[in-house]
């Protein structure tokens, strides 16, 4: 029941905070929510401690027949692919709640939506049934839409609706592909271990894979399905941007590995060169757009598009090393982008602007925000893949693992890391160096609580950069199993 508890905890949390009998202040709501989020995180840590990293198969499996006639089962499990993402979700949920303004309007509703979102994400990562995954995948859509639409910026309605349309389309495509896989292959149920999609003709597999790639490609997002992301990020509040970039985008890459690469290996192999080229386009397009941005948050958002392209490249190469790199990149991007969004949030909260043509000299030791600036420099260095930080390790593993399969695409993707350094240097140089601009010369005080979440993430980024094996050893066995064996064999192993 460990995994069900992990799903139930945020669900109970949402109910507790949402139906709290009396009116509570934002501060109290945040304290209660932090306690619940802390429990979820600790439960995830406990799960990690009990997880056997030497086993590549799904562990802690739980299974219940739900709607037999539909072949829908409540099947949960965790492996080396989902465990790091669960940990990431746990820590980023705590950080997102901690970073929420105490004076937020309608706090009970806000925090209950965050826990519903967390329920959806955890459920999606644990689901071992296609339909169950889809239900959880769709579940996170509603709270996220509301979180942007209610607590967002000036154009929140536009951004939330755009997000809703894109993600709904993504859901339709994914559902159609899932149904196609089950019905066309006459699989007995939606359970992952019984899916026989790999037995389908290649053309059918390719069609199904196209649905999966585009569906999850919208979520990742891949160019040209990315346009919802910068708008959503710009309009979302900082904690929601943290969750969006840190965790929710990973549902897309997770889906590609879990359902594209694992369930349709033959089609995946066939489409891989196209996917690798697509990854290059995403990397270079994302980085080029980031260079052109004047809004710090949009720049970080476009950088996400570029960095998620590396995951696609690694997944396309599908070597043990590259897939391990993809998992690492999901975690490292989650940590780094969350940190960058947090820091941009602090700058915006204090300076009232994210405009790189307005901000200048924020590193001023007296009147600026020197610690925030220092953390920002550290964050952009991590994002640009400077050695000693987790971004370097993940990108290095991806390039090392992908080069043997797609040398040209890998080399072109490596240009993206150089471009990352370019746009982030532009950001740091414009916003943090020089004399404080007159518009921001009277910044309010920066408190420890403003910096603490980013400091925690910076610590993780450095620790995992110096000791990456603390991250990789949870996934190595799973990667070996999933890359070397097709889905049918996986089924046998997990039994």
């Amino acid at each position: 029941m460990m995994l069900s508890t992990l799903i139930l905890l945020p669900l109970i949390g949402a109910a507790v905070i949402g139906f709290y009998p009396t009116a509570i202040s934002g501060k109290t709501a945040r304290q209660i929510s932090l306690s619940i989020a802390g429990m979820i995180f600790l439960w995830t840590v406990l799960l990690t401690i009990r997880f056997d990293p030497n086993q590549g198969n799904v562990q802690f499996t739980e299974s219940l027949i739900w709607i037999d006639v539909l072949g829908l089962n409540y099947r949960l499990g965790v492996d080396g692919l989902s465990l790091p993402l669960l940990l990431l979700n746990g820590i980023l949920t705590v950080i997102a709640i901690y970073s929420t303004d105490e004076s937020i309007q309608r706090p009970k509703f806000y925090y209950s939506l965050i826990f519903l979102l967390s329920t959806g994400v955890i459920g999606a990562f644990l689901a071992q049934d296609l339909l169950l995954f889809f239900l959880f995948y769709e579940l996170e859509l509603i709270p996220l839409y509301l979180l942007i639409a209610i607590w967002g910026g000036i154009r929140k309605g536009y951004a939330a609706t755009k997000f809703l349309i894109y993600t709904a389309l993504s859901g339709i495509l994914i559902l159609a592909s899932f149904l196609g896989m089950i019905w066309l292959s006459h699989s007995p149920s939606f359970a992952l271990e019984t899916v026989n999609a790999h037995t389908l003709p290649l053309t059918t597999q390719l069609l199904l894979l196209a649905g999966i790639i585009i569906g999850f490609g919208i979520k990742i997002p891949l160019v040209p399905f990315h346009t919802w992301l910068p708008d959503a990020h710009v309009e979302a509040s900082t904690p929601i941007s943290v969750l969006l970039a840190g965790v929710l985008l990973k549902l897309g890459t997770y889906g590609l590995v879990r359902f594209g690469m694992n369930l349709l290996p033959q089609a995946w192999e066939y489409a891989a060169p196209t996917l690798a080229t697509w990854a290059v386009i995403s990397v270079l397009f994302g980085a080029s757009c980031a260079i052109a941005q004047k809004d710090m948050k949009k720049m970080v958002a476009y950088s996400s598009i570029g960095h998620m392209g590396y995951v696609l490249l690694a997944t396309a190469a599908a070597t043990p090393l590259s897939v391990l790199g993809a998992i690492m990149q999901m975690v490292s991007h989650g940590l780094i982008s969350a940190m960058l969004f947090l820091l941009v949030g602090v700058v915006y909260k204090k300076a009232g602007s994210r405009d790189l043509e307005v901000l200048r000299g924020l590193l001023n030791p007296e009147r600026g925000m020197p610690v925030v600036g220092t953390l920002m420099i550290l964050g952009v260095m991590a994002s640009a893949g400077i050695p000693g930080m987790v971004g370097f390790i993940s990108e290095f593993i991806i390039f090392r693992g992908s080069y043997e399969v797609f040398p040209v695409q890998t080399l072109l993707s490596m240009v993206g890391t150089g471009l990352t350094a370019v746009y982030f240097l532009i950001l740091v140089n414009r916003a943090f160096f020089g004399r404080l601009s007159p518009q921001v010369v009277r910044l309010p005080r920066i408190y420890l609580s403003d910096r603490l979440p980013a400091v925690v993430l910076a610590g993780l980024i450095i620790i995992l950069g110096i000791q990456p094996s603390w991250l990789t050893h949870w996934s190595q066995a799973t990667v070996q199993v999933s890359v070397q064996k097709p889905a049918s064999q996986l089924t046998q192993v997990s039994k």
Binding site: G361, N364, P365, E366, R367, G434, R435, L436, V441, R442, L443, P444, R445, I446
Partner: protein
């Protein structure tokens, strides 16, 4: 009083203020609190600076490696540890001001130090100091300007020390009067400083050193150097107006003519300084702000604590207050040096006064006068 209309000058508003005996700084209770409070801490610091400058001039002259020059002759192990721990006053700032004064020159002290009279007296001191040191005497023959230049510098140490001795007392007595409720406005602050300057205007500036039992006059009283004309005015010119281009967040490239080739056109003094780079390592004014923060009166410290960033930008706040106070000191100097009485009825004298004030105001065009008043 009949005044000549003056609406042409961009800072005519300030000229009119001065013509009516007001200050360059707006008269508000907040400004009075800031200026008096900061001048109190400045007075304490100046007192320490002046003592050290005079000690160096009197006891460390012609010492080539004055390792313990900041100890005022009281060397002990605990004091050494405190020095290394940086639990001390930054006497380097006093030296920075001394060197700035020496570099820009001006006034009777500068002229005297370039005269044969000084060279003759200096040579006598050198001969006495190194009577038994043949090596140094030989070097002095080879490089005859070197030791004399060292004594010139010692004379500036002494001159600035004597100047600050007077100023420290003026600022501390100002604070005492404020505490007694006798100073309540900016014009009163200016008047107090002006009175202090005028009172000691003719105070002689002298410099003597003792070698063995023999006393040597390096600047004898007979030279007629006085406090106001020969130290105060050159100091204001050098430190308040000209200054030196210092390292900070703004880099200056002399080869690209970002630094004027003519020293007289320098505008890096206290009245022009941007308070924001304060806090950057190695910026000399930062040292002064660091020193003053230890001696802030409680009422001023509380004002800073109540500000938007509390004590996070204390050095910048001190710098802004200090700059305001320096506009008051400059007002006192300008009013004290007016060619004719402010309330003169003579049109030719009024014109002379106006020309005098316009010249000053020309120099304030690029200063932080407007920012200090906003």
């Amino acid at each position: 009083m009949k005044q000549i209309e003056n609406r042409v000058h961009p800072l005519h508003e300030f000229i009119q203020q001065l013509q009516t005996g007001k200050a360059l700084l707006k008269d508000t209770p907040e400004n009075v609190l800031e200026v008096v409070g900061i001048l109190k801490s400045y007075g304490v610091v100046l007192d320490a600076y002046s003592q050290n400058l005079i000690y160096i001039a009197d006891h460390q002259f012609l010492v080539f490696f004055p390792f313990f020059k900041y100890f005022n002759g009281k060397i002990s192990l605990p004091q050494l540890f405190r020095h290394w721990w940086h639990d001390r006053i930054n006497f380097e700032y006093a030296e920075y001001c001394m060197k700035t004064m020496m570099w820009h020159g001006g006034g009777g002290l500068d002229s005297y130090l370039d005269s044969p009279e000084f060279a003759h007296r200096a040579q006598a001191v050198i001969s006495a100091k190194f009577k038994y040191n043949l090596g140094v005497i030989g070097l002095n023959q080879l490089f005859p300007d070197f030791l004399i230049e060292q004594l010139r510098m010692s004379a500036y140490y002494s001159g600035l020390g004597q100047f600050w001795r007077v100023m420290a007392d003026i600022f501390l007595s100002l604070s005492d009067l404020y505490d007694l409720g006798k100073i309540t406005s900016i014009p009163q602050v200016v008047e107090h400083i002006k009175a202090g300057l005028v009172k000691d205007a003719l105070k002689p500036i002298t410099y003597q050193v003792k070698i063995g039992e023999q006393v040597y006059d390096i600047i004898p009283k007979s030279m007629g150097l006085t406090f106001l004309a020969d130290t105060a005015i050159p100091y204001v010119e050098a430190v308040f107006f000209r200054g030196t281009p210092f390292l900070g967040t703004v880099s200056l490239n002399a080869q690209a003519y970002q630094v004027p080739p003519d020293q007289a056109r320098f505008e890096y003094g206290a009245l022009y300084a941007d308070p924001l780079p304060i806090g950057g390592s190695g910026v000399p004014p930062t040292l002064l702000m660091h020193d003053m923060r230890h001696y802030l009166p409680e009422y001023l410290h509380q004002t800073y604590r109540r500000s938007l960033r509390g004590e996070d930008d204390l050095l910048v706040q001190i710098c802004i207050s200090f700059q305001k106070s320096m506009f008051c000191v400059t007002t006192a100097a300008i009013l004290g040096l007016m060619p004719y009485a402010i309330d003169t009825e003579d049109p030719s004298e009024q014109t002379a006064n106006l020309v005098y004030l316009e010249k000053w105001m020309d120099r304030f065009k690029t200063s932080r006068l407007l920012e200090a008043n906003n």
